[in-house]
């Protein structure tokens, strides 16, 4: 049992204790919101951080899953069918996105995912007979797994926490797996990976599918949390928000997207409580992070801490050296 295991255990216990410590439904709901966005950001991070493929269409993936759940529930199906259908819809849309967007990499990949995401948004907005257009679809009930109702803030937080912990564990296993290493390889050296006999396209495709699965799970959590979905949830702003979570926290780290999700959700709540200019703030934070801390908060802080540590160690050594060198002479 090393220090890492202890840290993980403490973090999990702290997360379990959250609703008992704050014990106010409003703040517990915010914590649930952070966790559900963290799942979404973890999903996007697989692609952005480990695959080097920046997607600006991920809200289309989670949105498709959320809309499918809402549509199936409105059509009178049960929660199990709705959730399965939602995940299936999210994965089908993901496969379509991946098949088209992976024709390109780099900047063209961003352009294609953006265009695809906007097309999904256009569908949600205009295909009124399915999506109810601008009015959106409401969901009247939350599921009750094993007979436990999720209607209270605390119960929903617990359910979201379980999903979140599973998502973190899945990402940790993914990153350490040979497949994760291969994905990082295609990010850094696609041609060498190809020469080594790896099917670069296929690796990227399955990474995209994994990312889409996590995004769809986040979409299902989203629809049950808000009990409502409408086209703005699929707009470019939403995709950009999640990308901001990944980049601000630190792409390519496990903790980064979680930190980024907390940061963005909290800033959004604080800002919209005082002024109605969230989009302006979102843009400004984006520009500031990209210009001043492009590697993200987690790696940035680690870098600064390491530098400070080294500086302290150097000073320490110097003073000790000075002490020993002056010692014998005197």
């Amino acid at each position: 049992m090393n220090i890492r295991h202890i840290a993980i255990a403490v973090a999990v216990l702290a997360l379990i204790a959250v609703p008992y410590v704050i014990n106010q439904p409003y703040y517990v709901n915010i914590a649930s919101q952070i966790l559900l966005y963290a799942v979404f950001a973890l999903g996007l991070n697989i692609l952005v951080g480990y695959g080097g493929l920046v997607s600006l269409g991920h809200a289309g993936l989670s949105g498709s899953a959320a809309y499918a759940v809402a549509y199936l529930l409105a059509a009178g199906h049960g929660h199990i069918v709705a959730i399965a259908g939602g995940l299936a819809a999210g994965l089908v849309v993901t496969a379509g996105f991946a098949a088209l967007a992976l024709r390109a990499t780099g900047i063209s990949f961003i352009m294609i995912t953006l265009a695809l995401g906007e097309i999904i948004w256009g569908l949600a907005y205009r295909w009124i007979s399915i999506t109810n257009g601008d009015n959106g679809i409401s969901v009247s009930s939350r599921p009750a797994p094993f007979g436990l109702a999720l209607d209270s803030a605390n119960a929903f937080y617990d359910a979201t926490l379980i999903v979140f912990l599973l998502a973190v564990a899945a990402c940790a296993i993914f990153v350490r797996s040979p497949f994760g290493a291969a994905l990082t390889g295609t990010r850094d050296q696609p041609r060498r990976m190809n020469a080594l006999g790896f099917h670069v396209w296929m690796i990227r495709f399955w990474a995209f599918m994994f990312s889409g699965l996590l995004s769809s799970i986040a979409g299902v959590l989203f629809i049950y949390y808000y009990e409502f979905i409408s086209p703005p949830a699929l707009a470019l702003t939403s995709s950009a928000e999640v990308l901001l979570m990944v980049i601000s926290g630190g792409a390519g780290t496990l903790l980064g997207p979680v930190v980024g999700a907390s940061l963005v959700v909290i800033i959004r709540l604080v800002v919209s409580a005082y002024i109605s200019r969230w989009n302006f703030m979102l843009g400004a934070i984006f520009v500031a992070i990209v210009v001043f801390m492009p590697e993200g908060l987690v790696p940035g802080t680690v870098r600064l801490a390491r530098a400070a540590w080294r500086e302290a160690e150097r000073r320490n050594l110097l003073s000790r050296a000075a002490a020993t060198s002056t010692g014998p002479k005197s």
Binding site: A104, M111, L123, N279, F280, L282, G283, A284, V291
Partner: protein
């Protein structure tokens, strides 16, 4: 019969507007290798500024065309400023540049909402172009014909600029091989500013020219940007001919889609994009500048 004819005219008109929007987008992409995600914002800001100039924001009521040109110049200046102050700091970091244009587009959208409010602003058709042209049984709205004419004039003008002038030759060299262009003494970074301002100005001009047809409203930027993206994915990046052909195709598909399948208007755009991406990922005219 006249329904189809009118739909065709509308499609070509919209294609012309899209060309003005996407020609600059495509050139910026060709030269700087980044999609300028503020391009939709430039379109919207051009329309807002033009409509304010038209209604006497500066104390005098400008003529429609003067307002359009002044608005376009202001947008061009904004574009040049953005390139100098923000994108220049991130030279060589394409991802960072794209993300900065995305951030700026959100800020611009919110500032426009603050400045001009949430209600759509309708812009009157310029005097003298209100009527119709009759040709036999068919009726053509005059203003739409004028927009088509303007788009054609700009297409020819841009083509001549790229083909026949020194600046055009330098831009073509920069698109083809920026390093080599630098080596032979072309100041490519200066070209960035010029092309960025030119593209922004064209988008702003298109916004005002399109305002009598589309009106101006918050969210116009996010309606136009994906269309410009689809045009460039279809036509190929950095290619003037590609943006022209792509714009006409998208104009037709979008207008016919809206008339025939109103619920799926956005989705039918998807089909040509899929075909091109599968069969010719570099776009119809990718790799050619003209």
């Amino acid at each position: 019969m006249s329904f189809w004819l009118l739909l065709t005219v509308n499609s070509v008109t919209f294609g012309g507007l899209l060309f003005l929007l996407s020609a600059g987008f495509s050139l910026i992409f060709g030269l700087m290798r980044i999609p300028n995600l503020t391009h939709g914002s430039m379109f919207m800001v051009g329309a807002y500024l033009g409509s304010s100039l038209l209604s006497g924001a500066l104390g005098l009521y400008l003529n429609f065309w003067v307002a359009a040109v002044v608005g376009a110049l202001e947008v061009a200046a904004l574009g040049a400023l953005m390139e100098r102050l923000l994108l220049r700091r991130l030279a060589g970091q394409q991802l960072a540049q794209v993300l900065v244009t995305l951030g700026v587009s959100f800020m611009v959208a919110d500032l426009c909402l603050m400045g001009w409010g949430g209600d759509p602003i309708s812009v009157a058709t310029p005097a003298g172009l209100n009527g119709f042209v009759r040709a036999g049984a068919a009726v053509f709205p005059l203003y739409r014909m004028a927009v088509i004419g303007i788009a054609v004039v700009f297409a020819i003008g841009l083509w001549l600029m790229l083909e026949r002038t020194r600046l055009g030759a330098m831009i073509r060299a920069g698109v083809d091989d920026p390093q080599m262009a630098r080596v032979v003494g072309i100041r490519v970074s200066q070209l960035f500013t010029i092309v960025f301002a030119l593209g922004a100005g064209l988008a702003g001009f298109a916004g005002m020219i399109g305002a009598p047809i589309l009106s101006v409203y918050p969210g116009l930027d996010q309606d136009m940007l994906p269309l410009a993206l689809v045009v460039v994915i279809l036509g190929g990046t950095g290619s003037l001919l590609g943006s022209f052909v792509g714009s006409i195709i998208v104009g037709f598909i979008y207008n016919f889609g809206q008339a025939l399948l109103p619920e799926l208007a956005y989705f039918v755009l998807f089909l040509p994009m899929v075909l091109v991406l599968v069969l010719r990922p570099q776009g119809l005219f990718g790799g050619q500048i003209l």
